[in-house]
């Protein structure tokens, strides 16, 4: 492994440990690591975005379609955001991007996320075991209708509507519970990934005893400070 790759891994390990130090308490090392990440991420993102914009623009310019320079001019109007007098120029590129987003998503969203969702609710999707093959789909349909009634605000939830929306909230709570379980799984997976990097990547693991030593020093200094500030 070359010297630069070694330094890269050591830097990655140092950033990892500095960010983990937040679990002890917020400290300068954590803030430095956090700011380094924000700066580097912003710089990297801008580079890749600029390269991709050039890749879209350059073939058209080499074909002699010089009016494509206008796209760069309109894109630069974003910087008018920082002007007091010419702020309104910022609205042009925003209008183009937002209008495009609206046009691309609206018609297709209404089909995919409204009509198709209603169709899939009304059809048999998840077969249940014998002898009730339609049970799961029936429960699903009931759950969707009841949960929709929970969000229905035109009438007060009294009488039968109260019980319908109660059933709806139970379905929603089960969905949120599933989301909670999935989120826990995701975060633990990330932690496993980080720990595997720290424990098994040469030479990252050499920083672990250094970090433990610094933590012990930090704890001792903290304990010594406390009686003076009390």
């Amino acid at each position: 492994m070359g010297a630069i790759e070694t330094l890269t891994i050591l830097a990655a390990a140092a950033i990892t440990l500095a960010l983990f130090s937040y679990l002890w308490r917020e400290n300068l090392a954590y803030r430095i690591a956090e700011h380094a990440y924000i700066g580097a991420a912003c710089g990297y993102g801008v580079l890749v975005a600029a390269e991709s914009a050039w890749r879209l623009l350059e073939p058209r310019l080499t074909q002699g379609l010089t009016y494509w320079y206008l796209t760069a001019v309109i894109g630069l109007l974003y910087l008018a955001f920082f002007s007091r007098n010419y702020f309104w120029l910022y609205r042009y590129p925003t209008a183009i991007v937002l209008g495009s987003e609206i046009g691309v998503t609206v018609a297709r969203s209404l089909k995919t996320q409204f009509l198709e969702q209603l169709r899939m609710t009304a059809t048999i999707t998840f077969p249940s075991p014998f002898p009730f093959p339609y049970l799961n789909s029936a429960i699903l349909a009931v759950g969707v209708i009841c949960a929709l009634f929970y969000f229905y605000a035109t009438m007060e939830h009294r009488g039968p509507l109260k019980y319908v929306s109660k059933i709806g909230i139970y379905f929603l709570m089960a969905a949120f519970g599933a989301a909670f379980g999935s989120t826990v799984m995701a975060r633990i997976s990330l932690l496993i990934g980080r720990l595997r990097f720290m424990y098994f990547t040469d030479p990252a693991y050499y920083l672990i005893p250094v970090a433990i030593a610094l933590l012990i020093v930090g704890i001792v200094l903290d304990r010594r400070k406390k009686p003076e500030t009390a």
Partner: protein, 216 residues
């Protein structure tokens, strides 16, 4: 004149682009679709320039902090990491034609700072979730109990140990994900899309002007 140029024309541009792009999703006419494809490229190029805003905002904020001598070290680190990456990457791309995704130093910055930083910041949440699970998640009502029960079953169902504890846990997990979870998320999608379409209609009709930002 000024209101027309400052407000009405941007609004008309938004409406025209929205209808033009919506037409591409609904019509199958080759000349129109080819024009819309070029339009998409135009939007992609224009939208890429928005990253200039992030660079400028971060630079302004942190240069001001350095000038006021508050959090000098942190702000300096941010500015150095950002501008060194940018300057070197642009130099190599503009003058030597080396793509940032292939440029050695830029990739080392990604591997050394961006990748571990992003991963670690999110992985810390595992500890916070554990602490919250222990200190805050209380089954105080039927709904909360249901949430915790569903969450616990799903957590155990997705881990191999769940099937070892009981063979019914994976089936229960599958049922929870297939039926109540699908019902709940379907409702969220249905409600969400109605809200989004309503918002977009308000923007097109001019009632929603938040996207125009400050000023007249």
């Amino acid at each position: 004149m000024s209101q027309i140029v400052k407000r009405h024309i941007p609004h008309m541009v938004l409406v025209a682009v929205a209808f033009f792009m919506a037409g591409d999703t609904l019509l199958l006419e080759k000349p129109y679709n080819d024009l819309a494809s070029s339009g998409t490229a135009v939007v992609s190029i224009i939208g890429s320039f928005a990253v200039l805003l992030s660079v400028t905002m971060l630079s302004r904020l942190h240069v001001r902090r350095v000038q006021r001598k508050t959090k000098v070290i942190e702000s300096s680190v941010l500015l150095i990491c950002m501008w060194v990456t940018l300057i070197w990457g642009f130099f190599r791309f503009a003058f030597q034609g080396v793509s940032p995704t292939k440029e050695f130093a830029v990739q080392q910055v990604f591997n050394a700072i961006v990748s571990p930083g992003d991963s670690t910041i999110y992985s810390i949440l595992a500890f916070f979730i554990a602490a919250a699970a222990y200190r805050a998640f209380r089954a105080r009502s039927v709904e909360a109990t249901l949430l915790l029960l569903a969450g616990s079953i799903v957590m155990l169902g997705y881990a191999p140990i769940g099937e070892m504890i009981s063979g019914h846990i994976p089936s229960l997990t599958k049922w929870i994900m297939d039926v109540p979870n699908t019902a709940g998320n379907r409702v969220i999608i249905l409600s969400g899309i109605i809200g989004i379409v309503a918002l977009y209609v308000r923007i097109i009709l001019g009632y929603e002007r938040g996207w125009m930002g400050r000023g007249d």
